[in-house]
Symmetry: C3
Subunit: 299 residues, 3 copies
Amino acid sequence: MKHLLGIRHLSPQEIEEFYLLADRFYEVLQQPTRKVAALTGTTVGLLFFESSTRTRLSFELAAKRLGADVLNFSATGSSLAKGETLLDTALNILAMGVDALVIRDEGVGTPHFLARKVSVPIINAGDGTNEHPTQALLDTYTLRRHFGTLQGVRLLIVGDLFHSRVALSHLHIASKVGVSLSLCAPPSLVPASWYGLGLPIYHRLDQAVKQADALLVLRMQKERQKQPSLASWQEYVRYYQVRPQHLRPGQVLLHPGPINWGVELHPTLQAYEHKLILQQVTHGVAIRMAVLYALLRGR
Amino acid sequence: MKHLLGIRHLSPQEIEEFYLLADRFYEVLQQPTRKVAALTGTTVGLLFFESSTRTRLSFELAAKRLGADVLNFSATGSSLAKGETLLDTALNILAMGVDALVIRDEGVGTPHFLARKVSVPIINAGDGTNEHPTQALLDTYTLRRHFGTLQGVRLLIVGDLFHSRVALSHLHIASKVGVSLSLCAPPSLVPASWYGLGLPIYHRLDQAVKQADALLVLRMQKERQKQPSLASWQEYVRYYQVRPQHLRPGQVLLHPGPINWGVELHPTLQAYEHKLILQQVTHGVAIRMAVLYALLRGR
Amino acid sequence: MKHLLGIRHLSPQEIEEFYLLADRFYEVLQQPTRKVAALTGTTVGLLFFESSTRTRLSFELAAKRLGADVLNFSATGSSLAKGETLLDTALNILAMGVDALVIRDEGVGTPHFLARKVSVPIINAGDGTNEHPTQALLDTYTLRRHFGTLQGVRLLIVGDLFHSRVALSHLHIASKVGVSLSLCAPPSLVPASWYGLGLPIYHRLDQAVKQADALLVLRMQKERQKQPSLASWQEYVRYYQVRPQHLRPGQVLLHPGPINWGVELHPTLQAYEHKLILQQVTHGVAIRMAVLYALLRGR
């Protein structure tokens, strides 16, 4: 594997190797210094053309904890604002001596485009509403650590499937790792093409949760509701907010963050025992270390 | 001591230990490499929800010169802007693997709130108009190095006591370290409750300066004069600006910076011999190294 | 040499030494780790009062690849915005323990002013429309590597000479290194004083390019066209855009970046074989390593 552009392109074996590497790096993170020298001398460029502080910090920490250097490039105040093309920006950063690019962009396919043009590994940190592969890897890795296996784990994704960059990566990963996936969203927030995929798609939350072992609740992003795809924000909260009464003992709760308490999750769930949300964050660093290491170890 | 939330909570012995550690780190800063490996493998998170470049840089340098790694999180363009709670932000950063949080926020009590919720040391880098403990530590440390002792040193604070985050920390530190404190401000810029503290409060600058060994002149912050608490900016300059004729030989001049020359200080004082303002900056790095080391050495 | 304020102040021997050092550091950059420990323990302050992501990143990488630490200070959200003087800002950063300052500012002469006031080396990273010495050094270093020598190399600079911070540094370097310089620009974009310098100044591009071995095409900066110095943007493109038909075999093409494809360069030139634009970026890191090393090695 040269790049990590999407879950779509990964084999089950490649995914399994990421999990195994993440296990090793998770152990490293539990040690006092949290560091290895695996990528000393390597420089990782972080190109975030869309702001995403937590994903960027997670990649930055992952790189540094492997001993790599980090070069941060964000679009604000940069040459992109002066009209430079994205390809020129990437080529320039590479010409400074960078060994891999982590890219977040609102355009679908931007990382794939760059991967065809440059000679270093490209890691997709979210391309529009397409894929966000490290998020799906860390979510399933969290389930794998919790349940001991992914085989037969029933995962329900609740929320805005239409604008999410997480849902599609989960669609691809589920069948590859044995997760039994179902979906729940208002009709207006389900892409039409998804009805043909053979997955259970629910429009009633109380029915949807019954069969699930784990819920992955997506963030409702007001800033993404550009067209009036949602009848009303209040109706969403009324019919799709996950509340304590929806959950039965042992069901685990995941969320990619940042959370809108009181929108997609009821505030009392802040105390919910089987919340794995902070574990997702910790595992995120381990997974990103695994990805960077897998793509750069042979350099 | 687990956290540094305010001078209010410190014993004289704890303050003395900070000074002694700062002496050691000041020596380190005079050496060519300016570094020790005391906190290698430690990661310090800097959470600045209010911009304060110089305080942030001072903490960042302090951490790096102890061998620690730094994770910078500022509110601009971050998940806070997307509606995440401050607690969730802090918990997320901790979940990435961070050993201490330095926090600056405009809300009074934010660091105290976090200290009750999280398991790592919290360092208050300024919470609204409440405390800014490292500033009071570095100011008194600067006086201590200059005069050889703090016992009986007469310090006059001049300026906007009402909006200052520095004054209250000095109120707490003075009695603990033996400094004889007095205050000078226009009546509208003195919090009413301060009149009952038994400290001399002057409204005439020429009278106030007579008994002082050292002046700490506060920054006039136009951006903080929200209600018409000040009769007029021109009147402040006329009656409270510190000028060369106010100072007698040997009196030292401190300012927490950044300075408005021509407002709280007359421009000719740029050449004043007994100005300790840049020493404050240097000592600030030493004091912050002392604080980080004291809170993290046992990790 | 204590500072690098401009090419104007350099002797041919000093320039030659930068080239020779850059040769050594270019070799370092080709090695897997790309690093030397030449400036370990040194801290370089980057003061960018005008945004310039690529120049800042190039200096940052150069410093880190010499083993130095970097302290980044930009004007946004900083004490400058609170009214602090530039000198106070610089003095404060130095008081924190910084060994050299790299400064970019829109004011002509800012680095020269600071050099008279502070005790550490100052490196000019662009002062308004005056000088940008590391750009001229890296451009000529690129030509030197390509042609094997600079003696007699005929360089044509095309574009907005009036607002450029690059042109003046080239004016100074050409005679010192043996480059034969000529210029091409619309009459309104040539500073009046340049006509007396004895250099060929062309207003017709097809005539200008005939004698050149290399073209350095300047960026057209819409944001700098404040007064109506340019008749029209469309006319510039029509008469001064460099197109494939202007170039003959072997002529090399340089650009300081970021490029406006379709303005100063025709888009088909993205595939031009003798483009040295990315080499300029790589050489930029080597030249900046050379400059930092030359000024700081004796510390």
